[in-house]
Symmetry: D5
């Protein structure tokens, strides 16, 4: 059986070979694009049907589907601080705005957190005359500290 | 003169003492809440009027205003990986979804990044019958790699 | 105003000076011992009455109460890996049994986590003829991954 | 001969292939589930009979049994701080409650530790109308500092 | 398909085998030398024609061209701080002059950064009677902090 | 006597108080702006006259001049990897282009380095209709490996 | 009240001022030299009488005795790997012989550890014609892994 | 030729396969058990006869003997701080007692170190009615600081 | 083609197999022993003749010669701080005497460095009745800070 | 009493104030320059007379002499890898030549080390028509591994 990391690598290469997009994969799988991409990169387990649909579109073998269905040990970065500039900007946002987000969560909701488990994510290109924008929406359930 | 870090600490304490909220500070300053909070925590320089408005509302001294106006050396975390659970969840999002966000930016926009400089942030509590949600919107200009 | 760390230090010293125990503090505050200890060590915000009760019993000043009521930035270890032997054993448990706990959560509950926010903790000495035992019970809400 | 890490990987894959659960493995081996899972993941040496029972149920080869019986060099995390969210929550508990647990051990028992060697662990799903809970019980012999 | 790192290694070896220079490769590819070198070392994606031109000159196989065209996850150092002396000197420049560069950018341009995305680089040997010099020109768009 | 770090802090504050620019300081000192800024931030020792000129313009006390003249232990970053975005971009350039610069130095000059000791630096804002640019020129003597 | 670290510093200085040795302190305290030294350096809590005896001999104030009696958070090194050569040699012994010691414990005793809690230590200078020797004896209870 | 690490792995597996003990190996080699174990784990070079005796007893091939005879680059831990509990306890001893050992060496011998080169080690199980003990004796030449 | 690291490993093994010494290799190559050893371990590029002479003496294949001639990315330690005791002592010298060396360079030469590029190294065993000595001579060009 | 670090700082400032050189201090103390500098920077304990001579020449108070005489905890770098360029070059020498030095020690002397305890150091400026040189001589007793 492949590891989830090897399966993710197979998915990336098949995407290039077949020209299939993440959007098309999401449609075939029947899930939002961000969830589908994360699952195909090894961060979420897929159901039998979801894995089958993705593997069929990507013209991959059955053992990739088995890996996609298995329970992940999550964490996709190679180092504590990412060096790829596209990913690093997210880390920079935490460095600059992390305490700000914490203060605003506490002011609006009380002592608690935004869940990263009961959570959904969206990434959109938004046209703008001054240059198009990338809008990332993180939407997680508020969980109050509760004994 | 105070450092920006000392000024941020003075702001936090004056907030507790006066009962003023970040939302009220943002209104007094005339800027969005997330920008205002970040600036008062030492991550953005304020104009003379902005600093004066904040300091007046918080009943702080003039030297805090001077610190709020000075150019920051940014970076608000005490360690490379934050340990406070509210802030850590943002780091967890990068660990689990960082490469997903990268893939979706590249698919929708090409080879480039979401700017964290030409950037705005919003944090909202959104009512939900299954439990209210925290929605964080990161909105940055798309910058293509360009030689 | 004191920081929460300075307040925690004041609490520790007053405990020695007055001879008051964590158990007595918990009873005065009206909360379980583990919650009360964590709050007095700066990891949870106390209500006005809770802080007042603790400060009265410890014969501390009012500014300690103010610090105990303020919102914490959590995280009580001085380093990523603790060196105090009593605390290190907890880290060793994660090193040896972390993946075991993960497997058993997934087998019994599915793909998700034990919340550390909706969470309670208990520490008990349990008599045993072969030598008394320390029993630590961690009890957190199961949160399934949910998009 | 396989390493214990390779044997653990073989166990995981055979579990998926055969559909056998950790609970069934524990019953076949005649040991508690947490011990059995830890042993099969390479953190405890198994006796000849225990290894044979596990390997038979999982339809694995004899060299896996040999690896399961060998003395481990323990430590199951890939990094000092785990990034998988299910395991990270345990680390977060130490960050937030580590000194609290230390204080309560000292108050109830004196200057010493909870052993992680003379130690047993249990993980249970506990039904709860407000959402089922995961309850982790760590039960270790109290060891006083003794010269 | 090769990874970009394997492709970079193939490029380096073919360069030695064929005696082709980075300058000749840049000319064949039709791009500046620094961009071309970075792309062939796996830090920029090449267009179909660029990759074909490079691969032809280096007498490499088609699968290298495919790797050169794929989207990189950038970051070329093996460690956070480089140990090769030629590369370390660049790090030393940041250690000694980083805050100086920051001050001069802020004085001349305001609160913002030099982009490393909208960016070009040049490396030149400049004859000098007191010993020739290496002149590195970093030329990036000024991006003001803008909400 | 002040440390060089305390002197640098005094310089920064006096700059704000007096409104003097790095450019004016450089002119008064009779040295290029980048050298002057680095020296005033504690990275180069100043001569008696240079320190006196700077201190006079900034209206600082004599003990600052003494610190400015003393031999520095260089290194201006608080951490191995800088987090301030303006400085981080320089680090990103090394991550993405470090090996490229190394290759081009070796191709043009042979086996050696660009000196960071026999070295000069310039930072310029360059007007550009598509947005002004920051141009950083690093100019160091080529030093061949020589036994 | 002093911290245990401040008390340790006071002990060190009083030792120099009074000329009292660790051996004399151990005799006054009525405990072995290694235990006494560790306790006075803040790694073990002393009883009321032990602290009083040490403080009397060292001519220190009462608040040092209070600190010596309080419960320590143990861990005496400033960094994960010690740099002082006398202490580093102990670390080198673990680097070179750690797995050897582990093998010999397992061969002689089974799967378990040497306790560092139920533990005593002795340091002796042993005359030797080829140069005197330092002999360090670590003597800890064997603890078998036991569920 | 095998590396010393591969040879050590071969030794461990042959020990399990043949049932030979470290004590028997030491006797065959004609060296103390701790030295023999360390050498077979790759931390000391063996003479031709020593390697031959060990390889014969373990029924290993000649290339293992060659590796056992070669000069080691020492250091047997996978990380700066060991995570295996049996080895970690040694590290804990340094954390808690390192400065104590340093003080006692200095008091008994003067300013110097216990050599870890001119050094011998012994590990013994010592029967004790309250539970058997592990006694580790480190015996190194005293080396005074000498210019 | 071999990497330089693989070539270095081949050199080490051929040295053992042939019994050739570094001194003999240096003589064959026509370079000082330290330079030759460093080059054969992958830290300096060799000329065609040098590589050929070394490879001939070591009875190695031509592809080793090609690797020996290629441009190195320098840096020979596996970790930031070396653990092999023979190499660690050099690091210890920097820990204890680094600032001393810096002070003496500045006192004798001014503000500058000893070059590690225009640099030669010698290692000699020097007979001494009190025990032979190792004498390491580092001889680098003085480079003054020069703008 | 001052710490040795504070005493070192006092020495540095007094050197500037009085204009005394390390060479003059060494002569007054009656010890070689490198030893004297290291001792005054806190890395070696001085005798009563040595400390008195240094303090007299530097016009410092008696408490500095007390600190200079006390036993040091050695280690003079602020970080594992030094960033000051003058000191970093020594680290670079270990990175590039560390294994070379190890090989040459083993070839000339056998399996052992150059002592850093029975050790002396010299730093000299050596005139050279092609530019003066800094020559650092490290001279330590050879210590063979000896059980």
């Amino acid at each position: 059986m492949l590891t989830k990391k090897e399966a993710a690598e197979a998915v990336r290469q098949a995407k290039v070979a077949t020209g299939v997009t993440w959007a098309q994969l999401a449609e075939a799988v029947g899930r939002p694009p961000a969830w589908t991409t994360a699952a195909l990169l090894g961060q979420h387990p897929m159901s039998k049907d979801e894995a089958a649909a993705a593997v069929a579109l990507l013209e991959l073998r059955e053992d990739v589907a088995a890996a996609l269905r298995s329970q992940p040990t999550r964490g996709a970065l190679d180092a504590a601080v990412p060096v790829d500039p596209t990913i690093y900007r997210l880390y920079e946002v935490i460095q600059v705005y992390g305490p700000t987000i914490k203060e605003l969560i506490h002011e609006q909701c009380g002592d608690g957190i935004m869940s990263a488990i009961n959570f959904r994510l969206d990434v959109q290109r938004v046209p703008d005359p001054a240059g198009d924008r990338v809008v990332i929406t993180m939407d997680g359930k508020y969980l109050p500290y509760q004994w």
